[in-house]
Symmetry: C2
Subunit: 200 residues, 2 copies
């Protein structure tokens, strides 16, 4: 099987790959996200461009390797009433975000970019999943923040941990809410890169 | 905090509790599920009665304890075109089930029962989540069966593992698809048993 490289430092994305029994390596790339956020205001376009930038950076890092690898990158934001929300900067910011999400429905949007080390093909797509939160009291929010789950997560929550207690319903891909739309990745790899992850 | 007892042998339910940072113990009860399946044909009623039977059995086991505990029990089935599907009995049965679910939408239904050791109150409810599978080839299905994930799972799949590759979308509670609707449990405990899991 071809090498698969996950160009992401997200523990949640790595866990999705591990749980799906995919053999992979991770490669952390540095992309100046703020630069993109300043010029792209459309949520879908932003995550697509950020995922692509991460894949391009990973490809550049791997230029001198001799191994043929598939590179997968992703970027997640949430969108509430047209406003883009990323990761919280500190506990107070996490409070502000969660307060807005409480008793409300937002969209969790992930951009995904897939390419290969020695192939100019670059597939970029996105997936959006709507997520409804139950009503949270200030005490609930602060207790949640103290758990530390907000750190490094778009929207300051983690569906795979305590947030399962306050997520009422989702519509769309559940793995997308974890961090990467695995069915979309499956379809891209099958259609565009001739790799059926469910045959192995 | 009150003791919480999860009356279930499901590893998926235990993981949901662990990931939600709930302190709990498990107690495995034996309920003759086939007896219920013979007389109850309505999916919602069946899972509710089975969850209740498990909670009642756990309560009976704990009759002589002096510790005040909350008991949580659950039972999951899937429903496809009005037909109830439980756990697969063997690999061939798992194949038959997955073949039917392929390229189709089913409902995953969990009954939940909550009571206390020294409290006659017994709350029984259910949650239903619709799940859409991508199209699977026979080769895909057999490769999946060989991973062993079908064992012990209603519908012969596990959303937290390789099945994330072929689950296109869900509508409803994501934790329900894992094994227990955690937001419904949260609401029942808060409203009926004066316990706010998000305050601790």
């Amino acid at each position: 099987m071809k090498n698969i490289i996950l160009a992401s430092k997200s523990i949640d994305r790595s866990k999705l790959f591990q749980n799906s029994k995919i053999i992979f390596s991770t490669l952390i790339t540095e992309v100046d996200e703020d630069k993109y956020k300043l010029v792209i205001s459309h949520p879908h376009e932003l995550v697509k461009q950020l995922a692509k930038a991460k894949a391009v950076a990973a490809k550049k890092n791997l230029e001198f390797t001799k191994t043929d690898s598939i590179i997968v990158a992703g970027d997640t934001i949430i969108e509430l009433n047209g406003k883009i929300i990323g990761k919280a900067t500190d506990e107070n910011n996490a409070y502000e975000i969660l307060k807005q999400l409480s008793n409300n429905t937002h969209n969790l949007i992930t951009g995904i970019a897939v390419t290969e080390t020695f192939n100019p093909k670059m597939i970029v797509d996105y997936e959006s999943t709507s997520v409804k939160f139950t009503k949270l009291s200030d005490k609930n929010i602060w207790a949640y923040i103290k758990s530390g789950e907000w750190k490094g997560r778009a929207g300051a929550y983690s569906i795979g941990e305590r947030a399962s207690l306050f997520i009422e319903l989702i519509k769309g891909s559940p793995s997308n809410v974890v961090g990467l739309p695995m069915n979309l990745l499956y379809k891209i790899l099958k259609k565009e890169f001739n790799l059926d992850l469910l045959e192995i």
